[in-house]
Amino acid sequence: MVEREKTRNDDVPLDDKAKRMRDLLSSFYNPDHSSAPKPPSDYENLDAINSTSFDPDHYMNVLVQKSNLEGLLRRHVEMAAEIKNLDTDLQMLVYENYNKFISATDAIKWMKSNIVGMQANMEQLLDKIMSVQSRSDGVNTSLFEKREHIEKLHRTRNLLRKVQFIYDLPARLSKCIKSEAYADAVKFYTGAMPIFKAYGDSSFQDCKRASEEAIVIIVKNLQAKLFSDSESIQARAEAAVLLKQLDFPVDSLQAKLLEKLEQSLGDLQLKTVRIENILLESNDPSKQGKAFESIPSTGHEVSVHGFAEAIRAYRVIFPDSESQLIKLAQNLVIKHFEMIEQCVKSRISSANFLGALRTIWTDVLLMDEVLSEAALPDFSLEAGQVTVKKYVASTFTYLLQDISDALLKVKVSPNEAAEEHALKLALEASKKAVLQGSMDLLLDFRQLLDDDLGLLVKLREFIVDWVQEGFQDFFRALDDRFLLLSGRKNPSSQDQVLSEGALGEKVLVGIALVLAQLSVFIEQTATPRISEEIAASFSGGGARDYENGHAFASGEICQIFRSSAEKLLHHYINMRTQRVSTLLRKRFTTPNWVKHKEPREVHMFVDLFVQELRAVQSEVKQILPVGLMRKHHRSDSNGSTNSSRSNALLDDRMSRSNTQKGRSQLLETHLAKLFKQKVEIFTKVEYTQESVETTIVKLCLKSLQEFVRLKTFNRSGFQQIQLDVQFLRTISRENIEVEDAIDFYLTRYELRSFHVIVAASERCFDPVPLEPPILDKLVQVKLARSKEQSK
């Protein structure tokens, strides 16, 4: 507290006084105390002394409470001094105020004495001004008449000048025509126009006529100028502007000029057509490129140049005609692309396609220079996108067509000699069509990609996508087509003609095999190569997501073709065995086996059976590779020796055991079981001659066995079966060409035919086999006869 008092006194001894003075003055002149800022609470007890709300008792209390004696004493001294000071100040103020009041009274006194005498002076001034005014009025009236006259004269002179101008107009116009200063002429004429309009029918008739004649000439000249291509564009534009000023119907002129442009456009298209035609004719691959280099540089480009120039001129002449021109230019581009699409429809090489695109792009660039507002590059980019896509799609379609053509050529050569190789040829041709076709296709597309044409550069990513997608779809379509051709799938309506009418039954069966092998080829050779090629040059892409299409996925394609190859192979086997089944069914339903007569010869169905198998053999030999599967197919390695031994055993046993029927049947069953050992009929088929042939033979013999099981035989019926089967066995032995193959053929025929005989004996009341000599004899007779027939 003491400290605070001290600091306060030390810091602001001077300010304190001044401040109080100011406060006092302000309170004097400004009685509103409420607005005065409230002193901070800390100093309340000290500063509040100046405020209206000062409470002396409270102040004393506070002071006495808070200060010590020394402080109070000092405070007392301070206060006494302050009071003295304040008194002095108050006295000063009063004195000053009084002083001012005295001087103000003096001034008022002085003013009062000076103002007397002013009135007289003022009245004098008014009189003088009045007289000046009356004089000036007089002057004004005296001059009025003359001035009016002068004005009238001036008007007449102006009028006369105009009349003079109008009378001079025809002459002036003709002068202008002579000097070709049409701009001036038009200016003059338009200037005179209002007068002619007002007085043309009366006083200036001749004049008007003459100048109109002149103007007609001018208009004519201007039109000529406008249409003449030799004039500079500037001049032509001026002419157009002048014509417009002359109220000449410019719109019709514009239309006319546009028409002219369109006409030239038509000519241009015609020229393009010619170029395309030439291109199409020059399908000779060596000439293709050259043909394109030369032709556009001469005819086409020049005419496009002309067209571009014309457009430029037109734009200058009619600045507000952009939309029409844009339409025109876009039309041209559209026509161009339509043309290409037409060409694409009828198979076109990529060089030609590229050439055509290049022509268009040059045109577009040319026109873009003069008409950038049309955004022709963008526009043609869109159109080009569609066209290129169509091109890609149609190329794939043609490839598909090529392949099916190659396959269907088989039927073209129906004569027997050719047929031996027909399937092979078809396979080779179609293999080539697939691989070579795909490679050519990729090469073509490569060309598209590698070209530095602006259009194609922009479309590059799309092209990559389309090619990938195209291949994916192409292989799917190919797979579908294969299934269709093989007759495995019910043909959809549009392809019905193709599969029904065109294909003969015989070819159809073989085709399935060809297709199977072709599928394997596609899976193992073509697809990897194509995907390699695609990876090499068509990677990237991904310009858009594959919502509808799919990128080329070789794995998926391989899978599709692997499975369809299997399907087709099985289908082939099925068709073959089905034919044999039909044969067998007929054979077994007709005779009454229980009342069969003694066998005299091998039944003729065996011939048909063998014939079928021979057909299989020939087809398989043409198509499939020789397999290295002599032995590994058998699960029991001792099969061959055992089976031949067992047959001997069986024959032997059967001849002996006529009486022991019950036991023999059991034995037969057990024997059969012994050699069945998971009969390998139903193992996986491989793509080899042996595998397919074996499978078919096995299946056919199995069918034979099943048919036998459904019948009941008497002894002769059983013997007939025995004889037939024996003949089959003999034939098969004769067919063995290489020593190595014995094992294989034995497996193929012996074991299965053995099962057939077992089945027949099981279904026989009295299974007594033929004596071996008789059997042999009958077989030999049949063999001799068939040999004779074949000769």
Partner: protein
Amino acid sequence: MQGGYSGIGYGLKYQSRCISDVKADTDHTSFITGTLSLREENEVHLIRLSSGGTELICEGLFSHSNEIWDLASCPFDQRIFSTVFSNGESYGAAIWQIPELYGQLNSPQLERIASLDEHVGKISCVLWWPSGRHDKLISIDDENLFLWTLDCSKKAAQVQSKQSSSMLHYLSGGAWDPHDINAVATTCESSVQFWDLRTMKKTNAIERAHIRNANYDMKNNHILVTAEDESGIHIWDIRKPKIPVKELPGHTHWTWVVTCNPEYDGLILSAGTDSTVNLWMAPASAEDEATSERLIAESPTQQADPLLNSYGDYEDSVYGLAWSSREPWIFASLSYDGRVVVESVKPFLSRK
């Protein structure tokens, strides 16, 4: 092939072709089968699966004078069954009753309730209406379709009506629609024909060659499954006889017999001459078709294989096949060498 040997075996003395589920026996899972031996005394075996499901017990053994080509158990009386038999030259069909006290007799004789004697040609099968008690029977031979009225108490069967197929169509078998008491399908060489038993007129036909066997789906109306020699299994909606609803690859050689599970939708069993039994999952209803199509669209590479399992543990062609209607996850198969194998398909159901 796949999986080890899991079935329960039972050996018959001779070769045999047919096995049937005894549907009327609600206390036990039992099957009835008969042998096919031209030159021996044939037998009918009543087999029961033990309560633990671990072995097959011979519940009854009855002699049958001729070889049995077809056998069907009566769906409402477990002691009654029908056989088609042959002595090698001529065929016959009869309804038999198992004698009541057979457990106590040494060599019990089957009681012949009725002979279906009107046939002349080769009889292919006798059909009972599969869905319940019905006093009618159907028998089919090469050329004719007979509808019999059976009176068990009077032990008589009378021809109610008869219809001849055209000469060119040898009937090879048939199936009675479990959903329609008046509809029967017969198979012949070139087609499946549908008959209305009230008028005995042909109502419809599926033109398809070489159909071996046909079976109605017990769960879904209008669905017929056929087995064909070379081209596998087809599922038909008989309202749309032109194109099959579905196609299954079938067997390596002929698909001989096909049968739909009585309880589980789309579960099909087929047996063939390649000595295998295949278990398929092929739902045929339109709804399932839609979902499966969607699934295919989503993942074209992961198309579900309809083949659930292939049972390959057979020595010879399998001609006999029957689901148990009491425990529908159990089936019995019979290969030509006379071996009955009972298997459970439970492991494949849970996978679904």
